[in-house]
Assembly symmetry: C2
Homo-oligomer: 299 residues x 2
């Protein structure tokens, strides 16, 4: 049983720690922390920490791409990346120590040529054919067609989980993924429907898991259930959705019933909020919450 | 006639453009601009733009070091860098388009081993021996002795200009550079003297050029002159001191008299303030100011 996570817009996530962020002034920063990032990499980190076999694929280029390769290898996460000519992007988080506040800067993704996309497709078909579940996550770099996720979904018979937004979500959902996981705002934006059940039906995937932060998650489609975390967890919400996707991928691969999958996604997502870095989760809090969260059937 | 500029703490200068810097929120940035930086590189850019032969040396490592090599080559600036194992640092400038305000983040320099420092010293002796003037600029990376500049000054008979601060300035000045160029605050901090003439004499270099931003510059030692820009120039003061050093290096190499050197340094420095990037200057403004600035002898 192996999960393949696909991150077309990989990033090197860099963190600068400053005592106080003062616009207009000069800051000496400590040695910056940097690690491989992008939503699919976060999903893979969570699965790897849970002891689940996982492989990371995506498009990677330049010296930043080599830094990502090296970081995944150091983390013990299997990777099979397809090289592109342009430089992989960075994201920068400036952590203000006094305010406990994060300021984020996201560079644009690199341009991808048609030949590079075709090389990726060929590699992907092999990797997806060998996987139990495929996870497609995040934004598309420049140069890729808007229906790139639809192409990846149609190219395999392995069940797919899609975590995207906007047109990439709408076009991808129409290609028949087993599960999509928008948050409530993404679902409303992609479908134009304010009612999540109506929006989920309109999207047309096998199952639609709608997340609402501390308001929990609801699944529509194959089965209709809802689960809510027992208490509000404070921390860094970046990566919470990726932890939920990791739980859904594990549940799908194991064939566990929907109430278990959904409760697991809610607990793991809340435990990820408690960990400072996206892709990490608080293992103790996860165990506690997992024992408390119960999914209830929708009326 | 060739100037050798030494930058022990090279940097890749990255600029993010944002519409408005909002602490605590997420910013999508346009394709980042990046180029080789560090004070000695800025000096070399100015000399290169003036048509003066110049060679850049320093310590460079990792993928950031390769980016610096590539950028200097693209700019047509001759470089002979010594490779180190650790990664060269970056500096980041976040430019707020609405406020027209720059927020700076400086990473710490890489650690340098004793073997790497010795390898640099051997290369430096050859390069300095072939140069007409040597310029030593900026901070020292970790692992280098505090008297690193003193060692470099004693290792050559070629006249040296030193632009440093703190102990590196004090120990370096005692080793007999031809010119040092602290600003007024750096001179006071290094000598403990509030009067610049007393501080300059205490420092003990051949000539001490003290800069005071829009208040102009004064030289003490070999000859005592002062020059002031005819008007206040608004813009980015980063790199203004490096432009002054470039003028002093050109004047020293050509053997031009002190009043000319000082007037040239004041004009070029003000023209650098008018250019957005450190290492650039406004050529039209330089020509205008150069015709207006006159050095006057100190009483």
């Amino acid at each position: 049983m192996t999960v393949l996570t696909v991150t077309l817009n990989l990033a090197l996530d860099v963190t600068y720690g400053v005592r106080r962020l003062r616009p207009g002034s000069m800051h000496r920063v400590a040695q910056p922390a940097q690690r491989a990032g992008g939503k699919g990499v976060n999903v893979a980190r969570v699965l790897h920490a849970l002891g689940e076999p996982v492989i990371v694929t995506g498009l990677s280029g330049g010296s930043t791409g080599r830094d990502i390769d090296a970081d995944l290898e150091a983390a013990g996460i299997a990777a099979d990346l397809v090289e592109i000519a342009a430089e992989t992007r960075r994201t920068l988080t400036v952590m203000d120590g006094e305010a406990g506040e994060a300021t984020l800067f996201n560079e644009p993704g690199p341009p991808v040529s048609e030949a590079e996309w075709n090389a990726f497709l060929a590699r992907y078909e092999t990797l997806a054919g060998e996987a139990t579940v495929v996870v497609l996550s995040g934004s598309l770099p420049r140069g890729l067609p808007e229906d790139a996720y639809a192409t990846l979904i149609r190219a395999t018979t392995t069940p797919v989980i899609l975590d995207a937004d906007g047109r990439a979500l709408r076009l991808g959902a129409a290609a028949g993924p087993r599960i999509v996981k928008p948050n409530a705002a993404e679902l409303a934006a992609a479908t134009g429907e304010s009612d999540p059940r109506t929006g989920a039906l309109k999207l047309g995937a096998g199952a639609v898991v709608v997340s609402r932060g501390s308001g929990g998650m609801t699944v529509y489609g194959e089965s209709d259930w809802s689960a809510v975390p027992p208490r509000d967890v404070r921390g860094n919400a970046t990566g919470a959705g990726d932890a939920a996707v990791a739980a859904l991928a594990r549940g799908l691969a194991a064939g566990s019933p929907w109430p278990d999958r959904l409760a697991d996604a809610v607990a793991l997502s809340a435990a990820a909020v408690a960990a400072p870095l996206a892709g990490d989760f608080d293992a103790g809090l996860y165990a506690t919450l997992r024992a408390q969260v119960r999914a209830v059937p929708l009326p």
